[in-house]
C-alpha cells in the first residue's frame, strides 16, 4: 500500500476540525437577507411626526440607512446613541417605526434625540413584513436608487459601523460623485 494513503485520515480530520472550528464562531440567528440587490419595497404609510403620507419615492436620492425600530425594543435603546452620532456626522438615516404605538414613538423621539430624517409609521407591520424583518433592530443600507445593498440584523455599535457599514456607505456616496 502506498504511504500517502495513510495520510488520508489525518487530512480528513484536519478538514473537519477547520470546518467545525469556523462553525463555533458563526451566529446561526443571522440569516442572509433575501432582499439584497433588490429594490426597497413599495409602501404608502403615514409619517410618525405629522401623519403626512410617505412613499418609497421619499427615500430616494441619497444613499441611506433605513433603521427598523420600536419603543418596545430594548436593543433599539442601546443602538440609539450610535445612530444619533452618525446622524450628526451627516449620515442619512430613515426610520421605520415597526409595530409600535405612535404616541410612544413620539415621546421616545422627544425624550432622546431624533436622528431620523424621516420616520415611517408601520403600526401594522406591513412594510416590516415586506422587508423580511424578524426582529428589531434591523438596518438596511440602500443606494440613491432605493436598491437594498446590505442588511444588518441587531444593534449597530461603533465596531459594526466601522468594520461593516462605514465602508459600504462611503462606497455608495463615492459612487454618486462623478
Amino acid at each position: 500500500m502506498k504511504r500517502w494513503v495513510l495520510l488520508i485520515p489525518l487530512v480528513l480530520f484536519l478538514g473537519m476540525a477547520v470546518f467545525l472550528y469556523r462553525g463555533l464562531y458563526l451566529d446561526p440567528s443571522e440569516l442572509p437577507s433575501a432582499l439584497i440587490d433588490k429594490p426597497f419595497p413599495e409602501f404608502s404609510l403615514p409619517a410618525v411626526q405629522d401623519g403626512k403620507p410617505l412613499t418609497r419615492a421619499d427615500l430616494l436620492g441619497k444613499p441611506a440607512l433605513v433603521n427598523v425600530w420600536g419603543t418596545w425594543c430594548v436593543a433599539c435603546r442601546v443602538e440609539h446613541p450610535v445612530l444619533t452620532k452618525l446622524a450628526q456626522q451627516g449620515v442619512v438615516i430613515y426610520g421605520v417605526n415597526y409595530k409600535d404605538v405612535n404616541a410612544d414613538a413620539l415621546k421616545w423621539l422627544k425624550d432622546f434625540h431624533d436622528p431620523y430624517q424621516l420616520n415611517i409609521n408601520d403600526e401594522a407591520g406591513s412594510l416590516g413584513l415586506n422587508l423580511g424583518v424578524y426582529g428589531a433592530p434591523e438596518t438596511f443600507l440602500i443606494d440613491r436608487k432605493g436598491i437594498i445593498r446590505y442588511k444588518h440584523v441587531g444593534i449597530i455599535d461603533e465596531t459594526v459601523w466601522r468594520e461593516k457599514l462605514a465602508g459600504l456607505y462611503q462606497g455608495l456616496v463615492d459612487e454618486d460623485k462623478p
Partner: protein
Amino acid sequence: MMRLLAAAVLALSCTGIAHAAIDAYTFRDDAERARYSQLTRELRCPKCQNQDIADSNAPIAADLRKEIYRMLGEGQSNQQIIDFMVDRYGEFVRYKPELNAHTWLLWFGPAGLLLGGVLLIGVIVVRRRSPRAEEADVLSDEERQRLAHLLDKNHE
C-alpha cells in the same frame, strides 16, 4: 351494541370540536384548513429557528400565520404563498428548500457520504481478498520444489 356505537360517534364528534377550538381562524372548507395546516408546518419561524410557524408563539410567527390565512382567502396557490415567504425571508424559511446551487449539498450530502462509505468498504474488502487468493494459488517453481522436498521429507 347500539349504545357503544353512539358513544363512539359522540367521542369522534368531540375531537372535531376540540380541533376547531384551537384555530382562531374560520375556513371555507376542510381543504382550505388542511392547506393552512400544511403550509404553517412547512414554513420555519425566522425568529425561533427550530420551530415551524404553526408551533411558534413568536409575534412574527403569528404575523406570518395571519398572512397565510389572508392569502388563502384570496385564493392564492400554495406555491404562490411559499414564493411570497421565500422572497422576503429567503430559502431559509422552508423546511424543504428548493434544489439549487446553494442547497444541493443539503439534498445529496448524506446520500453521497453513505455511497462513498459503501464504495470504500467495497474497495477494502476486494483488495484484502485478492492478494491472498493469488498467494495461495500461484507458487513459483522454486517454491514448488521446496514444497515437494518438504513433503517428501515428512513421508520418510
